[in-house]
Each structure stands twice: as structure tokens, then as C-alpha cells.
């Protein structure tokens, strides 16, 4: 490849690199710069005040709560679904994978809408909820459900390709010797997917933390009760309290950057583990 590279005209190469860097700078770097500069525009004290605002802190807690729930439910689902799809033979396997991917393909607004139509005023499950004296729409459970819905396939999607690439020989070998499903999973399968699994958790966390559309539909925007951090940003922004909106945003930016760094570390680990496997298999 180096040989072809050298022959390639320097001009094209430099032009393409320059073009890429300009594109990324304008599209990705500038928005980050704007968030930080606007947040600090009126001084550091105001910035700290905006972040320590009572409602912002409550929003942060709710965001953490929804994210934790989403990660837990999707971890359980992701592990079971990935294991079911890759380790067993059954009919309609393709249909199942398509169904799992639905939340990935639809608008978050529609994701919110389906819960309104199920549990809201005209929802068919409304009576059940009334009977149980429960509230989902315009309440915390709705926020959590919406967040789980939009991040639903994130973990299984990362694990399935890894399991497919490795085949089932090791699991079959263990099954022939009489190992239980749990033992096979714990001793044989899980060590191979741990990086992909972590990667899925990171992606799920990022998306859950930043979810806006679905949560926006289900929240009802009750300050201090059903407002997550991204919704708090929206409220502050629509009140023309730009400095505070950007200050809260900067917290999310920092979280996003931390997630990106973790993501890159995990990807590096996966490449190391994956490369090792490819070499051994050949």
C-alpha cells in the first residue's frame, strides 16, 4: 500500500486532508467551542451558579436515574438476545433481529408517541394504570421507559457480530461435556464478549444521557420533576437564558468527551483482542 501511496500525487493527498480537517473543524469542533465560550461569557461565577441551580441538579439526578435504568434493562436484554440469536437454531431469526432494531430506525418522537398512545389519556392500558394507581405519561416512569426504548438495541447490536464471528464450536464443546447454559455463558462466552459488551454499555449511556425527542414527548416539562438535563437546556434556552443553557450544555459536553475517550480506549482493547483471534483462527 505504501508504494501506491507514494506515487499518489501529493497535491490530491494534501487537498483531501485539508478538506477533511476543515469539514470536521466547522461541523464538530466549532459547536463545542461555541458551547464553552457562551457558557463562560458572563464570567466563571455565573457559570458555577447556573450549574448549581436547584432545578439543574434535579435534572442531572433524573438523567442519571433514567440512564442507569436504561443500561440495566438493556444489559439484561442485550445479553439474552445476543446469546439467543447466535447460539440457537430457530425459525424467523431474521424477523427477530429486524424487530429488535425497530427503535433504531424510528424517530424518537414516534418512540415517545407510542407510550402516549398506550398509557396516555386515550391509551388502552390507561385503565390498568388507574387501577394500579400508577402514572407513566408525564411522570418519571415515562421518562425511563422512553429512554429504555430508544437505547433498546444498543448492547445486543455490539455483541451479536462478535459472537457470530467466533462461531459456536467452543460452546458446543462445553455442551458435549455437559456444562449448563449458565456455566457455558460465564466461563466460555462472556470472556470473549466483555469488550463488546462494555462498548455497548458506553454507547447506551451516551444515547440515554442525551435523549431528547422521546423524553420531550413523555415529560410534560414539570420542572424539578420530569425534566432531564437536555430538557433543562431546552427550557433555559426558550426562556432566553442563553448563558445558563450553555452552562448546562457544557456539563453534557464534558460527559460526552469523557464517553468518547472511554469509547476509544475500549475500541483499542477490542482491536487487540479481535486481532489476536483472527490470527489464531487462520
Amino acid at each position: 500500500m505504501n508504494k501506491t501511496n507514494k506515487k499518489e500525487s501529493k497535491l490530491v493527498r494534501n487537498l483531501l486532508i485539508l478538506l477533511s480537517i476543515i469539514f470536521l473543524f466547522i461541523m464538530l469542533v466549532m459547536p463545542l467551542v461555541v458551547v464553552l465560550s457562551e457558557a463562560l461569557q458572563k464570567g466563571f461565577k455565573l457559570y458555577i451558579d447556573a450549574i448549581q441551580d436547584k432545578y439543574t441538579m434535579k435534572a442531572l439526578l433524573l438523567t442519571v436515574e433514567a440512564t442507569v435504568f436504561a443500561v440495566i434493562v438493556n444489559t439484561v436484554f442485550g445479553l439474552f438476545a445476543a446469546w439467543s440469536i447466535t447460539k440457537y437454531h430457530f425459525k424467523r431469526k431474521r424477523l427477530l433481529t429486524v424487530l429488535i432494531d425497530i427503535p433504531f430506525a424510528i424517530s424518537p418522537i414516534i418512540a415517545g408517541l407510542v407510550f402516549i398512545l398506550t398509557f396516555g389519556r386515550i391509551g388502552w392500558a390507561k385503565e390498568i394504570l388507574d387501577f394500579l394507581d400508577m402514572k407513566i405519561v408525564f411522570a418519571v416512569p415515562g421518562i425511563i421507559l422512553g429512554t429504555i426504548f430508544v437505547t433498546f438495541p444498543f448492547i445486543s447490536r455490539e455483541i451479536i457480530p462478535v459472537l457470530q464471528a467466533q462461531g459456536n464450536d467452543q460452546e458446543e464443546a462445553a455442551a458435549i461435556m455437559g456444562a449448563s447454559a449458565f456455566r457455558i455463558f460465564r466461563k466460555v462466552t462472556f470472556p470473549q464478549i466483555k469488550w463488546a459488551f462494555l462498548y455497548g454499555i458506553v454507547l447506551c449511556t451516551a444515547r440515554a444521557m442525551g435523549e431528547f425527542g422521546a423524553v420531550s414527548v413523555l415529560s410534560g416539562h414539570l420542572r424539578g420533576k420530569t425534566v432531564t438535563l437536555p430538557l433543562q437546556v431546552e427550557i433555559l434556552y426558550s426562556e432566553f437564558n442563553f448563558t445558563a443553557a450553555f452552562a448546562v450544555s457544557s456539563v453534557l459536553v464534558i460527559l460526552a468527551i469523557i464517553i468518547l475517550i472511554i469509547r476509544n480506549i475500549i475500541e483499542h482493547q477490542m482491536k487487540k483482542a479481535g486481532g489476536n483471534y483472527v490470527r489464531k483462527a487462520s
Binding site: 466549532m30 459547536p31 446469546w83 447454559a181 451516551a206 420531550s216 464517553i259
Partner: protein, 276 residues
Amino acid sequence: MKRSRRKQVIPGFGISMGVTLTLLSLIVLIPMASLVINASGVGFSTFWETVTDKRVLSGYYVSLLCSFTAAVVNAVFGVILAWVLVRYDFPFKRFIDGLIELPFALPTAVAGIALTNLYSDKGMIGQFLDQIGIKVAYTRIGIIIAMIFIGIPFVVRTIQPVLEDLDSQYEEAANVLGASKAKIFFRIIFPEIRPALLTGFGLAFARALGEYGSVVFIAGNMPFKTEIAPLLIMGKLEQFDYHGANAIALVMLAFAFLILFAINSLQIHYSKFTKQ
């Protein structure tokens, strides 16, 4: 056949499938079914009236036009970015590679207000564009910019692995035969990355079509001009017109699945050539 239920070699089929299907039904399938249950309660004429309302039609048009344009721009820059990141070495390459994923990690609302600020007529970029008479914020260009932002990683990340795995022998062979650089790219490399490019394009298109958070701030939301379909659903919900929201959502879903289906078919067609 005596056995209707096939035996599994690896134990635990019942419980694994049970947990998978239960969670899938509770969280995705049953709520999704509400879309259909509710829609069937409304007469067809009401449904048709809602989804063919002029303002609604314009919403679909703006959504489809902007997300398609954004996906095309992303396809072009996605190929360039993937190419540069795979084929060239330059300072801060790993940093730039990591940055591509930012739109996945950054909450869309934050991206939305940042882009709005950046492109408003007093913003860091907007003020220069304003001088030459281009308005971005609160126009369709703004919507497209936001959609480019959220879609770019889809294209880059689907093409990158294909370019990495591409056997350089083809290029070397073409090189030896005296083909020009452009010819090598369009005749040899492009067909190889086409299936991945289509996937990336489809994902970016579908994502842009449904996007709400990053678009809603920069769009300005003027009926017939910059009002996107997800916003129409939101508007109906705010007026507690659940049936209207439901109808628009069903049409949107149909569009999204049509796009994915079309991309899938094209991909199957092209992957016949790349599989050996």
C-alpha cells in the same frame, strides 16, 4: 418428520428466548402495536384528511428533502473522511478519528443550540455568511446542517472497515496496467465500498428523517417553510390531537421503512459483485 421442535445442542434455549421475547414485547412490540390499535379506531377518511393536509404534506416534503440532501452531502464527505483516515498519515490522526463519533455522544439538544448560535446572523460563522447574503439559521440550510452533523459518523464508520480490508493487490494490478488514479478509484475502489456506502447513506438518511433534538432549534419551525414532520407530530400532541399525531407518525414510519427496504435491495444487488 417426527420432531416438530428441533433440539438445541447448547442448553438454555427456553429461558434465553423467553427473556428476550418478553422484554422485546413489553418495551417495543406492545407499545408499537398501539399505533395500529389507535389508528384503526379512526375512520379512513379522517386519517386521509389528516395526512394529506397541506401543512402536513409540506412537513413531509421539508423532512424528506432536507434529510436526503444531508445524506448526499454525508455520503460525499463520508467517503473522503474514511479515505483520508485509512490511507494517509498525518499529525493528530487518532484524535481526529476519535472525534468522528462526537455526534453519537453529544446530546442532540446541545448540538442544536450550539449550531443555532454558530449560524445565527451574529454567530461565529453566521456573521460572515450573513455578509455575503446567505442565511443559515431558521432556514432549510440550517436544517440540513444539523442533519449533516448527526449523520456523518454513520457513513464514515460503515466505510472505514471496508477500506481497511480492501486488498491492495487490485489497485497495484490496475496501477501496473497503467490506469490513472481517478480511474483506479472510480473503477476499482468505488465498487468495493458501494454496499457499505449505501448502508451508511441509508442509516444517515433514516436518522435525519426522524431527528428532532438538533433540528428543532435551528429550524425556526415556520409552517410551509421549515417545519419538519417530527415537529408536526409534536404540535399535534401539544394540542392533544392524539389521532392526528398517530396518523402522521404512521406515514413517517412507512417512509422510514421504505428507505431502509430500498437501500437493502440495492445492497443485495451490488453485493453480488463484491462477494467472491
